[in-house]
C-alpha cells in the first residue's frame, strides 16, 4: 500500500467535518492529534463490553479488561523499543510523567552543589518541574543555549557539563516550537562522559508520534510520551524507564494498588510499575493507546517520517517564498519534524489565527508553552502550523491563502 494521506484521513472523524462550508484543514497536531476510528473502537469495546475496574477482579470482564490493560503496557514498550515492560508507568499525560521523576528522583537526590541541565527549547512541562524542584532543593539549573540555526549549541553544552556537577539531564527529543530534532544520543553521551552517573530524561512528546523511537538505543533512563499527540486518547501518557531507576524511587502519588501492605505503623510499597500507578488508572484510555500504537505501526512509522519530512520541506519552502513570512527552525529537513513556527510581518499571530480559522485552517498561535524560547526568539508569540500523517500538499493552499488575506487586511 502506498502512503496516501487522503485515504488515511477517512479514518479520522473530525477531519470529515466542514466549518462554514469549508473542509477542516487541521494543522495543529503538535498541540493534539486527531484520533482514528480504530482507537475510538477500542475504547468503545471497553465501555460496551468490558466496563469494570482492573487488577484483582475475579470475574471474567474484569479479568479480560485487566489483561488488556497490561497488554497495552507491553504494546507501548514495543512501540518505543523499550526493553522492559515493567519500566512502563501509565500517567495521565507526559507532564505527569516528568513530574513523577521530578518528585521521586530529582527532588530526593539533588541538592546544593548539584546541577540539572535542560535546554533553551523546552516545553514548560520539561522546564517548570525542574525549576520548581531547584527552588525548593537548592540545586542549580543550567540551560543549553540555541544556535542561530535553531539547534542546540553542543559546544556550549560541553562547557556546561565540564565541571561534572550535572547529575541530571532533561531534554526534548523534538522541539514543539522549532520542530528541531535534537541529537539526544550525542547529548546523553556527552553528559555521561562528564559524569558517568548522570541520569537522563528525554521528553518524547513530539517524537514518538512522528518517527520510530528506539529507547533502548538512546539508552536514556527515562522517556516520556503523551497519548493525545500520537493518535491516542486524552487522559493518558507514560513514563518509560529503566527498571533499576524505578526500583530506587519511592512512590509519588500514593493510594490504592501501589502498596503491598498497609498498617498504621508501616506501609510496604508495591514493585514498579504498580508502585507508581496509584488508584484506578485510565483504563479506556489504555485500550485506546494500545490501538493507537497498532494503528501507527500498521501505517508504518518509517513511512510517516518520510512523508512528514517531505511535506515539511514543501511547507517550509512555500512559506519562506512568501513575502513577509519568517520561518523559525532548522533548514535541514533531516533535523526537523513537522512543527513550523513562523511570523507574518505586520500581522499579530492572533489575527492570523482568526483569519485562518475563516479559511477552515486550524493553527496554533501564542507562546506554545515555551516562554524561555520565545524570549530567545525575541517575540511574544508565533504562529505554528504542524503536520501529521493525514496532512498533505492539499493543506498548503488554504494556509497560504489565509496568510495572503491577512497580509492584505492588516499589513497595508
Amino acid at each position: 500500500m502506498s502512503f496516501d494521506p487522503a485515504t488515511l484521513r477517512k479514518e479520522f472523524p473530525t477531519l470529515q467535518r466542514e466549518v462554514d462550508g469549508r473542509r477542516l484543514v487541521y494543522l495543529d497536531s503538535a498541540a493534539s492529534s486527531q484520533t482514528p476510528q480504530p482507537v475510538l473502537d477500542a475504547m468503545a469495546e471497553y465501555y460496551e463490553q468490558l466496563r469494570s475496574n482492573v487488577e484483582r477482579g475475579v470475574y471474567r470482564i474484569s479479568e479480560v479488561a485487566t489483561g488488556r490493560y497490561e497488554q497495552a503496557r507491553e504494546r507501548l514498550a514495543r512501540f518505543v523499543g523499550a526493553p522492559a515492560t515493567d519500566g512502563v508507568v501509565f500517567t495521565k499525560n507526559v507532564t505527569e510523567a516528568i513530574n513523577l521523576v521530578a518528585y521521586s528522583w530529582v527532588r530526593r537526590r539533588l541538592g546544593p552543589g548539584d546541577a540539572l541541565l535542560i535546554t533553551g527549547m523546552e516545553h514548560h512541562a520539561n522546564f517548570v518541574p525542574w525549576w520548581h524542584a531547584a527552588q525548593d532543593q537548592g540545586f542549580e539549573l543550567r540551560v543549553v543555549p540555541i544556535t542561530d540555526g535553531y539547534e542546540l549549541d553542543l559546544d556550549a553544552a560541553r562547557a556546561l557539563l565540564a565541571d561534572g556537577r550535572v547529575r541530571f539531564l532533561a531534554v526534548a527529543h523534538v522541539s514543539n516550537v522549532l520542530g528541531t530534532i535534537n541529537p539526544v544520543d550525542a547529548l546523553i553521551a556527552m553528559a555521561r562522559e562528564a559524569n558517568p552517573d548522570v541520569v537522563t530524561l528525554v521528553d518524547g512528546a513530539q517524537a514518538a508520534p512522528h518517527f520510530p523511537v528506539d529507547v533502548a538505543a538512546l539508552d536514556c533512563d527515562f522517556y516520556g510520551v503523551t497519548g493525545h499527540k500520537m493518535c491516542g486518547p486524552t487522559g493518558i501518557g507514560a513514563l518509560i524507564a529503566k527498571p533499576e531507576r524505578l526500583e530506587e524511587m519511592p512512590p509519588f502519588l500514593t493510594g490504592g494498588s501501589m502498596i503491598l501492605d498497609v498498617s498504621v505503623d508501616e506501609v510496604t510499597w508495591n514493585h514498579p510499575p504498580h508502585r507508581f500507578e496509584a488508584a484506578t488508572p485510565p483504563i479506556a484510555e489504555a485500550f485506546g493507546l494500545e490501538a493507537a500504537c497498532d494503528y501507527l505501526d500498521a501505517v508504518g512509522m518509517e513511512q510517516i517520517r518520510t512523508h512528514e519530512r517531505d511535506l515539511v520541506t514543501t511547507f517550509v519552502d512555500a512559506l519562506r517564498a512568501t513575502e513577509g513570512v519568517t520561518v523559525y527552525g532548522p533548514l535541514d529537513a533531516e533535523h526537523r519534524s513537522g512543527a513550523i513556527s513562523f511570523a507574518v510581518d505586520g500581522v499579530h499571530p492572533h489575527d492570523l489565527g482568526a483569519m485562518l480559522d475563516g479559511y477552515g485552517v486550524c493553527i496554533r498561535v501564542g507562546h506554545h508553552c515555551a516562554k524561555p524560547l520565545m524570549r530567545t526568539l525575541g517575540v511574544n508569540a508565533t504562529a505554528r502550523a504542524s503536520l501529521y500523517l493525514y496532512n498533505d500538499t492539499d493543506d498548503l493552499a488554504p494556509l497560504l491563502d489565509g496568510i495572503a488575506a491577512a497580509r492584505s487586511l492588516f499589513a497595508r
Binding site: D351, A354, G366, H367
Partner: protein, 155 residues
C-alpha cells in the same frame, strides 16, 4: 460568524492609525500596566484628570492583536472629557456588550460599537476588553489616591 463580523473596517482603521497612542503622558495622574502573559498582550494606560474631575487625557501603549489595539484606541476617543463615574459606566456598558447584551449607550461608545461582533468570538473578548479594563483600573486606582497599578490576567 464570518471574519467580516470581526474585522470591520472601523476596527482596522483604529488598528492601522490608532488614536491617543503614546508611550508617556505629561503630568499623568495614573499609569496602569495590564498584561495577559498567556496571549503575550501588554497594555500601558495613562490618564490625567482635570480639576473638574473629568478625564483630561487618556493615552495607551502596548502590544497585542488588532482587536486589543483597536479597541483601546476607540476607547480613548469615547471616554475623552467624561467625568470618572460616567467613564466607568460606559466601560460597564462595553463589558456587557462583550457578553452579548445590546449596548444601552451605543452613541456614547462611538466606534466602540463596531466591536459588538467580537462577542461571538469568545477567545477574542478578552482582547477587546483589555483597554477598557485598564481604564477602569486606572480610574479606581486614581480614586484610591494611588498613581500606579499593575494587573496580570489568567486565562
Amino acid at each position: 460568524m464570518s471574519m467580516e463580523d470581526l474585522y470591520q473596517e472601523i476596527i482596522l482603521d483604529h488598528y492601522r492609525k490608532p488614536h491617543n497612542r503614546a508611550p508617556s503622558l505629561e503630568d499623568e495622574d495614573v499609569h496602569v500596566h495590564h498584561s495577559n502573559p498567556l496571549c503575550g498582550d501588554e497594555m500601558d494606560l495613562r490618564i490625567r484628570v482635570a480639576d473638574d474631575g473629568r478625564l483630561d487625557a487618556v493615552v495607551f501603549d502596548g502590544e497585542g492583536c488588532s482587536i486589543s489595539q483597536a479597541s483601546a484606541s476607540a476607547m480613548t476617543v469615547a471616554v475623552a472629557g467624561r467625568d470618572l463615574k460616567d467613564a466607568l459606566e460606559l466601560a460597564e456598558d462595553f463589558r456587557l456588550m462583550m457578553h452579548g447584551d445590546e449596548p444601552t449607550r451605543a452613541d456614547d461608545l462611538q466606534d466602540g460599537v463596531a466591536f459588538e461582533g467580537v462577542a461571538r468570538f469568545p477567545v477574542r473578548v478578552k482582547c477587546a476588553l483589555l483597554g477598557w479594563m485598564a481604564l477602569r483600573d486606572a480610574i479606581e486606582t486614581y480614586e484610591r489616591g494611588a498613581s500606579a497599578h499593575s494587573v496580570t490576567y489568567d486565562d
